[in-house]
Subunit: 335 residues, 4 copies
């Protein structure tokens, strides 16, 4: 068993990491920490009583390095890169769930803050397994993708070679409230979002450059991405509806199948996808339909799993040379 | 007081008509019917006990004509046109909430069924007050718009003159479950749609031609409309997110203001709109933001009111020469 | 028209007061304030744009007294009594929605804080119209009941004479989240309460003594009340399930009818009540069923209307000698 | 591995059985059937694509007997007993999730229908492991408890010796909508139950005699049980609030601990329980608080797991002499 650590155990993605890793056949969760320390696991997550029992430390890189070979960082951006640098220097491999290593330096600094670990940024690999599998295998620092980019990129990347060059890609994304994290805000107050739906940060959300950059990275082509996220009254799950213009008519199901037929965690659907069929799993379900040269793609994931924690463990599986499906949730919460 | 009738009292839009008309200062609700008859108003709508009390008839055109000057038809399409023809011939004005008089003959027959009242179809006026007010005033047969076209058209029509000619208009619509009516179906089963969201009839929903046709009707220009409706886990309300390409950069708030500043039932918002602020009212709230020549518009209505019953009463107000805000709900259900 | 003021305009009950009073045929809303001032009505409640437009002051008793005859206080307890005292001394009648004047001095101080307006406490009348109508008519200070006591008392009071003397009254109450107010808390975070239900403050909620005291006040008898509130994943509405033991078998519907048949805002139901039929209204719907000498009563109200704001306006109607149904919402939000 | 069959694969409990058994370390799911046959597993449950793949038969007892040693019956009552009889005669052990073997003959026939398998009824063991573990171990026919009785009995049984003899036990139960099954009904229509809550079959639900009979069975004492189920707007989970009168004051947490401290699937909580902490698991979380001699107990389970499918597999574990926690879900779906 490979000993692993989770830093950032108090939030939703931290909880999901604990749930997956404590059941994993090849990873042994040996170290758990929050930035502050001082709370037991049962206080942080009462649902784990009689399920998982282990101490929660105040995060400390040296202590991690003594016991763990891989660390999962479920920390806010900026905090994450400080910690990652220390871990890497001590020989611990890192799967970082924050935004800190996902972007090129200039893109990152334009949308987040000054980067304080430029050295490692260059070697970081983007952890979208279907497209970066080989690079992940050889890396020691994986930048786990954001939830919106995961769902969007898996839906649109197969079609990039077929798109009209100058037409924008429109992404209408709908996220469950858990995507906003545990922090209290007017937006996540039950009375605000129940029986409601609204766009937020339209056109200017910082996941848009993450999507555009990966298109460029993989296909060496620049596309305008107009990204509009919406908050919807569900706890869990994300649906991305993508609208594009094709250069030539294609059979979209065939395009998807060419890329994904053998992928263990992508399912091509012939009926529009829904989030209930993926909530609780690492699957990305994709549906596509064209009308002439206009293309509609619908892509669904669990925002906390495929959009964060289970994808992180898939990346760790790859990193370690394991079968990438090992210990990864596949059974949806349905009904 | 002008005596009015509601035919089709058992469904959600029928209930909303009863609620509005029984409080209206100039209309007197004198006749209420369902296709089948045989149930009291309290059986159909227990919430109306101690509020509204009147008999529910089995629908009969001759009986309507004896007591009412205007009839609101909240019937399924096809049933509606049979009934409307009989009423018009007896001198009763009709506000029809079905699809039967909304479209040109060929469009209608391509998407619904053979039309059995072609004579009146030609004189029907499309009941979107902001764009057809003068024609409504002179008509005796108003085709009340569908909920999706109402929200979509109010959002996009102001921009039609500014659009790139060949680019499609993408409409990502999200509707509450009441839009699917009272009929039981797997889709509207609580367990199916709670904590879920999915597209249905993507690209081929029959509200798309209704939208395209009105663009053509008002601007004599043909546009490709790619319309994808989604079902969301809310009872009431609709949000339409529209994605378009502009020919030139414009200030979208200015474009909206030019058309709507004085409209009593359109509100231009500087923050993204939500459905809670319009649920319970006849308002259409609109937000718009451009990024270069890409345009995002968000438009919110109450699907049963602005998308059906309250807009129908606005049309009747106009038909009768009343102030069109008379008796129309403006107070949202918030919180 | 009688000029009235609302102090505490920013919360949910303040919003409902504005909605009701701005449409009321005999009250004119002339003064609106919050504790802090400094925000426009549209900022506080964007849904009121193009509906109600008036300034929001920083609350000042002298200013109220200059323009209004009646003031509605939608303030936190303790703040309310300070303000009420000042208003009463200046000749303004007060309908107080807080807890400050609902209880006897000792009960209040045991469950809230030291009382700072004992002088007026003695003359305050409990604003449950069905049982205190005559006293309200003659008063100048009405203590509007809490939402839980309103639903509970209307359900159980008719049965007090029939109860087994020593058996406790068990109240299992379920409240929508708006009852917890606008303040952010972990409990009202969407992710916490969506798809969830739980009891809070079981057995020791401070609405229990309010209920017990009114039983004593009306029937001169002391009863043990075991009150357990639950939070449920709905925005609006409250259902109270009451469990009691009868001394003798009675026909519960008959008992209810004897008291309530002519009440405009109580509906006796022969099927179990639900909150959707009352949400948006001042109705209290009541159902009862006995099994031998065990009695189950189910009582439903809108927590913000019958449980707060619309009942407050009913009390003001009574105070002014108006028909108590004047301007009071009766149309439920259904569907 | 012991070969097992699931009969009744199309419903929610059938789906949960497939999910648990296909991951179980000692059971091999070899036979899957519905009453009608003719649909693939992916058609019945699209979420299982790329997860579980096996044929779905038309249910046939002889075919089951050829391949399986244990059969789980997730069939409607009446259908179940016909099938169970055939299986038992062929030497297949049965865990029946229907009501058919839960009750004494007279109780069953009074609340359901004439019993057609009286022979086996006598030997059936009630599958509540905490109280019938030893009998289950030796049986070949386990009657899996209903969801309401499971949550209610686990909460109240420890207190039976301490109850006032003549006072009724009041049970206010709240169930998620999945408890009503997949069948379409007005009650389970999203628009009906969303933003709503109501009692149904109050006082006369047929789970009440199941509860009363087990109290009698275990403590040889008869108690009046007043049972009122409510439907709540959540998909999954159940909370039972129990109200009782004690003969003497007791420390309720101590009473619970005496019985349950070492139970793997009961958690005694010091804060009121919620359904989110148990949804997705076989846990029953229990909280209790007394006020003098009045007692409140709150008990939470996942209605489809502890209330049906996972408890069924626990029973099969016991039947086979396995550790009863083998393959049983313990990780809640939170957040």
């Amino acid at each position: 068993m490979i000993p692993v650590a989770v830093i950032g155990a108090s939030g939703y993605t931290g909880l999901e990491l604990v749930k997956i890793l404590s059941q994993h056949p090849e990873f042994e969760l040996v170290y758990l920490a929050t930035s502050e320390g001082g709370a037991t696991l049962q206080e942080l997550h009462p649902a784990l009583e009689k399920v998982v029992s282990m101490p929660v430390e105040k995060a400390d890189a040296a202590a991690v390095a003594q016991v763990a070979e891989i660390a999962f960082l479920a920390l806010p951006h900026k905090t994450a890169m400080g910690f990652a640098a220390e871990l890497l220097e001590r020989g611990v491999k890192v799967v970082d769930l924050s935004a800190d290593y996902r972007l090129r330096l200039d893109t990152y600094e334009a949308h987040y803050c000054p980067h304080i670990d430029r050295g490692h940024l260059e070697e970081a690999v983007y952890g979208l397994p279907e497209f970066y599998r080989e690079k992940i295998r050889k890396s020691r620092l994986v930048a786990n993708p954001g939830c919106y980019p995961t769902a969007s990129l898996l839906g649109l990347l197969p079609f990039v070679p077929h798109l009209m060059p100058d037409a924008p890609i429109f992404i209408d994304a709908k996220s469950g409230v858990s995507g906003a994290g545990k922090k209290l805000s007017e937006t996540t107050h039950y009375v605000t979002i129940n029986e409601n739906i609204f766009a937020y940060n339209p056109v200017s959300h910082r996941h848009a450059p993450e999507i555009a950059e990966k298109i460029d990275d993989l296909y060496v082509t620049q596309r305008e991405v107009l990204f509009v996220p919406h908050l919807i009254p569900v706890t869990r799950g994300m649906l991305c509806s993508l609208y594009m213009q094709l250069e030539n008519e294609v059979d979209p199901i065939e395009v998807l199948s060419d890329l994904y037929a053998d992928e263990p965690f992508v399912r091509i659907r012939t009926e529009p996808v829904d989030i209930k069929s993926v909530a609780g799993t690492n699957f990305c379900d994709i549906y596509a339909k064209a009308s002439g040269r206009s293309l509609f793609i619908s892509s669904a994931i669990d925002n906390l799993l495929r959009g964060a924690s289970s994808q992180a463990v898939v990346n760790a599986n790859i990193l370690c040379g394991f079968d990438e499906t090992l210990g990864i949730p596949k059974y949806a919460y349905v009904p």
